[in-house]
């Protein structure tokens, strides 16, 4: 390809990758700004506004047909825009919640928001990838920023420990990932998702290819914290600043799952389903069962939510194991709902703390009857917990239908049954939060929780209420569900370049 032609090509595609570039650019700007005016109060809001601009940009492209840009390295419009919006939305909500929280625990550094933007930029790249290279670059950009954010509270040895753990295990999983990419490239001769199936058929190196896919998947399963690659999750979620845990658990998971969905839909998934369905189904099975079982035994709310996020990764995997268009659509729909629930739940927990160590050690029992004293937090937590359990009329219920129905349709009824039984189990620990919040006498609550925990500023209250209200109405707005269906159902994966 001629150099000037390539340059024209890049210029023409710039608008396609605008969100990624824009956020990275603003991130750099924030770093410079911060150097001159340390921890300026305006920094977070500049970050938030830049995310809003990206949301608007992606929303405008939501209805366009999905295509690729930058020499087919990434996917733009349609499903890519939807994924971007999910990631950006959870970023935006998390930034808004983080401002008062980080200021409260005296770690409201300006760099935090630059790092969040870098991580988000990486997530956007990861979630809209069409090439293994893009996946890798996005994944690393995201991960490195997240490692730093996890260890934000440097004075707390627990936070440092969790950052180190995250870093080591993350680096380890990257090794798997890279090896997988190398083998897949060797077996197919391509890095592009869309050419994988063709390359596989042309070269007939099944052992090499499937070994590569297995390693590649292991890398993904690390990132989405599926069992048995979930060990890092509780420690990291517990040690990281609470609002940032909410951010990590939703945005990074949405990005990694989106990449997995794209690689399945456009690449591996076009190969006969029997070749890869069963391993994925088994991982989903152990993930929902073990995630929920382990969550049952937790007394620390953040650890409990960490295991619950493992379980929710399992529900998404159930939809992916179906290997149908409906399954991918259901998974992507679930990611949106999951983001709303989890950002909200971690947000509520953040406002029940009062110093930089509390989040890590706070026990559920110390929050007895807190709902009566902090009704806004109590009521919104009620919505989040019921939604996470999968109760109608909340979003979580419609999400569960969206992931279980494709599994039933694909003949994985046993998996769906295990899934619903596991969610019945999850009812126990989610409802336990509510009974501690509402049904225990307030007198038995920790004095410090009652008297010292953070006040909720108006904007953060608005964020929590928005999450709760969206969860109540989202199931009854057919538009969202229809859109996710339209991305996959009827779209032909093969040759869609």
């Amino acid at each position: 390809m001629e150099l000037s032609g390539a340059f024209d090509n890049i210029l023409a595609d710039l608008s396609g990758g605008a969100s990624v570039l824009w956020l990275a650019l603003i991130g750099i700007l924030l770093i410079i700004w911060d150097a001159f005016k340390n921890d300026d109060a305006a920094l977070p809001w500049v970050a938030a506004l830049s995310v809003v601009a990206a949301v608007v940009l992606e929303a405008l492209r939501l209805q366009d047909t999905t295509t690729t840009a930058f020499f087919d390295l990434m996917r733009v419009n349609g499903v890519a825009s939807f994924v971007s919006i999910v990631i950006l939305l959870s970023t935006l909500l998390s930034i808004t919640l983080s401002v008062p929280y980080l200021k409260g625990i005296r770690h409201g550094y300006g760099e935090v928001y630059a790092l969040i933007l870098f991580a988000t930029s990486g997530m956007l790249m990861l979630g809209t990838a069409n090439s293994l290279v893009t996946v890798f670059v996005g994944l690393e950009t995201m991960s490195i920023a997240l490692y730093i954010l996890t260890g934000l509270v440097r004075s707390d040895e627990g936070a440092v420990e969790s950052a180190l753990k995250y870093f080591l295990l993350g680096a380890f999983s990257t090794g798997f990932f890279l090896y997988g990419i190398a083998l897949i490239y060797g077996a197919t001769g391509t890095m592009y998702f869309t050419e994988m199936a063709g390359g596989y058929a042309a070269r007939e190196l099944p052992v090499l290819f499937w070994a590569g896919v297995a390693l590649f998947l292991i890398g993904f399963l690390f990132k989405v914290s599926a069992v048995p690659f979930h060990m890092w999750t509780p420690d990291v979620y517990q040690g990281a600043p609470t609002t940032l845990t909410g951010y990590m658990s939703t945005a990074s998971k949405a990005a990694a799952f989106a990449a997995l969905i794209l690689v399945l839909f456009y690449g591996i998934g076009t190969l006969p389903v029997a070749k890869w369905q069963m391993p994925l189904a088994l991982v989903a099975l152990v993930t929902v069962v073990l995630g929920n079982l382990l969550a049952l035994t937790q007394n620390n709310v953040k650890r409990m939510l960490a295991y619950s996020s493992v379980a929710h990764a399992g529900y998404v995997l159930i939809a992916l194991a179906a290997g149908t268009s409906e399954g991918y659509a259901g998974a992507i729909y679930y990611l949106l709902i999951y983001a709303l629930m989890n950002v909200g739940a971690f947000g509520v927990m953040a406002f029940l703390e009062w110093d930089d160590k509390e989040g890590r050690v706070q026990m559920l029992d110390s929050l007895s009857g807190i709902g009566w004293r902090r009704p806004l937090l109590g009521v919104t937590m009620g919505v989040f917990m019921f939604s996470l359990t999968g109760f109608p009329p909340f979003g979580g219920f419609f999400g569960k239908i969206a992931v279980f129905a494709p599994a039933v349709e694909a003949g994985l009824t046993w998996l769906a049954i295990v899934g619903v039984l596991a969610s019945a189990l999850s009812g126990y620990y989610y409802l336990r939060v509510l009974y501690v919040f509402w049904m225990r006498p307030i007198e038995s609550a920790d004095r410090a929780v009652r008297e010292r925990s953070f006040p909720v500023p108006r904007l953060s209250a608005a964020v929590l209420v928005t999450c709760a209200v969206l969860l109540i109405v989202i199931g009854f707005v057919p538009f969202v569900r229809d859109m996710t269906q339209a991305f996959f159902v009827g779209a032909t994966p093969a040759g869609l370049l």
Binding site: F398, T413, A416, G427, L434, M439, G475, R481
Partner: protein
Amino acid sequence: MEFPHLLSLVIFLPLIGAILTLFAPTDRSVRVFALVVTAFTFVLSILLWTEFDPSRAADLQFVSGDFPLISADIDVRYLVGIDGFSLLLVLLTTLLGPIVVLSSWSYIKAHVKGYYTLLLVLQSGMTGVFCAFDLLLFYIFFELTLIPMYFLIGIWGGERRIYAAVKFVIYTMVGSLLMLVGILYLGIEAGAAVNSGVFTTDYFKLLSFDVPLGMQTWLFVLFAFAFAIKVPMFPFHTWLPDAHVEAPTGGSVILAGVLLKMGTYGLVRFCLPFFPSASASHALLFAILAVIGIVYGALVSRAQPDAKKLVAYSSVSHLGFVVLGIFAFTLESLQGAMIQMINHGISTGALFLLVGMLYERRHTRLMADYGGIARTVPWLTFFMVLTALASAGLPGLNGFVGEFMILVGAFGSAAIGSPILVGLATTGVILAAVYLLWMLGRMFFGPVTHEANRGMPDLNRRELVVLVPMAALMIILGLMPQPFLRVSEPAAVRLLETIERKRALVEEGDLDGMRVLQQDGNVQAAPAPGGLIPNGDQDSNPIP
């Protein structure tokens, strides 16, 4: 029809009221507002009764809604309506609304706003359950009732309230989530067979789908399991005494009056017509469990020292009759089951109200702490005796009608085919008289054993307002049940015909080795306008 969305209004008015309640400034205004909302809802629901056309009671009336709910691509819709099975249950729900609000007036002292908000949400959910004609919509309402009930028991309940609340929710949830898998499976299969491949939970489309025999069995198990927990049937009843005893009076009344009926209603509305062959082949099993429930519930009731527990276990016994009636597959017993649901709601609801009133006065529910109080509270005693007799099935009062029809129907039932079993069930009526009269004797008659009972005030005006309509209904339903039976009769006739026809079709089709039967145009599963089915024979009514 004059009121286009009357039914939707009846369903959602309490929910709107619940949201508005949040803005009420004082406890008193919350109570008054909740009363106004529920009373107005009841008045509106009376219009349903007066405008309902009993001659077309097998068909859907007051249809409201019919728009897609989740996605335009799948056939899940908001569709509500009522037929002969729904009408009385809807009326029972709306009637209990203001009664529960009034009965909680002075009982609930803490967190008044929260209590009434949840109560109103609960009423919307319950009404919706009986009106939903889309399976998934039904499921949404069905589960929606769990959320307020969890808090009502858990916050305003007795000492072991948290245990009871969690047990109640988890128990119900296991059943209903398994049913959800069944719903998804049925929706997909029915979509493929009768809805050109589009997932459907539309009641009438599901009804027109003849589920193949093998599939029927396990779908029936999933559905019936969920409903059996809700009823609750022996051996899934263990959540009930805990929930009943720990719940505040209002919660117990709703639980006994309406929530349990959601289980039996589900059996009649969905299990029987969707899976007729499986229902028939499991009829004996269900009859046996029902009879065990009848006898066991009654015996355990007799052993209780706690009046509220006694009433709670009596529900297991009474609901056993309903299940027996449903699985007898005869018109008399099905009709009896329908009327028994209403009767149980009224008389057991009233029993809980009365026990609650005693508790408010003496803060104990142990029967040993009372004794001879007929002298101090004659009016309360009068209502208690009347209610106990109604509950025990004294002829002339409402309890008799349902139980008699169920037993007569079940006795000749081919599906159960065991008169001995039904004979055993009959002992339940005697045992009910034993434990209820025993309770009356210990608590109300004889000498006054505790000094504290001497100063007990009799019913006040508010309590009279609560009890009089219940007592009136016991007598009205007992003396002239025909207007009520007439409402559900065409629906019952239609149901039995549907079962008969579908069984024949499916079983014949299965013999031919066909997987899914092709649909012939003559299948009248959807309601034919104008009511093509004659009104059944009037002789089926055993009450002169």
